[in-house]
Point group: C2
Chain length 96, copies 2
Amino acid sequence: MIGVVATIRIQDGKAEEFEAVFRTLTAAVRANEPGNICYQLTKSKTEANTYKVLELYADADALKAHGGSDHFKAAGHGIGACLAGRPEIEYLDGVA
Amino acid sequence: MIGVVATIRIQDGKAEEFEAVFRTLTAAVRANEPGNICYQLTKSKTEANTYKVLELYADADALKAHGGSDHFKAAGHGIGACLAGRPEIEYLDGVA
């Protein structure tokens, strides 16, 4: 299993737009990626305009399928328009 | 929904012991906590002896039930014996 914690910082005033794009993406991930086990957007309680996506994939192929999916690519423009900087992606090894 | 990322640093040479205790805890969480949506131990790829637990709960009651559960308390001693410092617990607001 592979874990991902993606930290995303957005511009002031873009929360509603960002969350709407992410809502569509999340629904598509859950509906179309059998190798995705968890995909949840969360918001920091301490840092303004900062989100963390908690993600789990069955294996490297599942993670690759996520990154290469049409729905992930389709969300890129909408998410990109909200960003305040480059997302930080931390990859983690699942421990059985 | 509530998200948690718990960062746990353990002592050198304690990985096997720590992972065994956590394996038992994880099985009990998944079997006994209907309000727990995700509970997965992962290991850092970049920091030695460092683990992150990715957790999702339906609501505050579910998180409270986790912390107050017999299985969580029972794992405390075994986990505590492995720690290299105080765990860092980050609480996050789930975004629907």
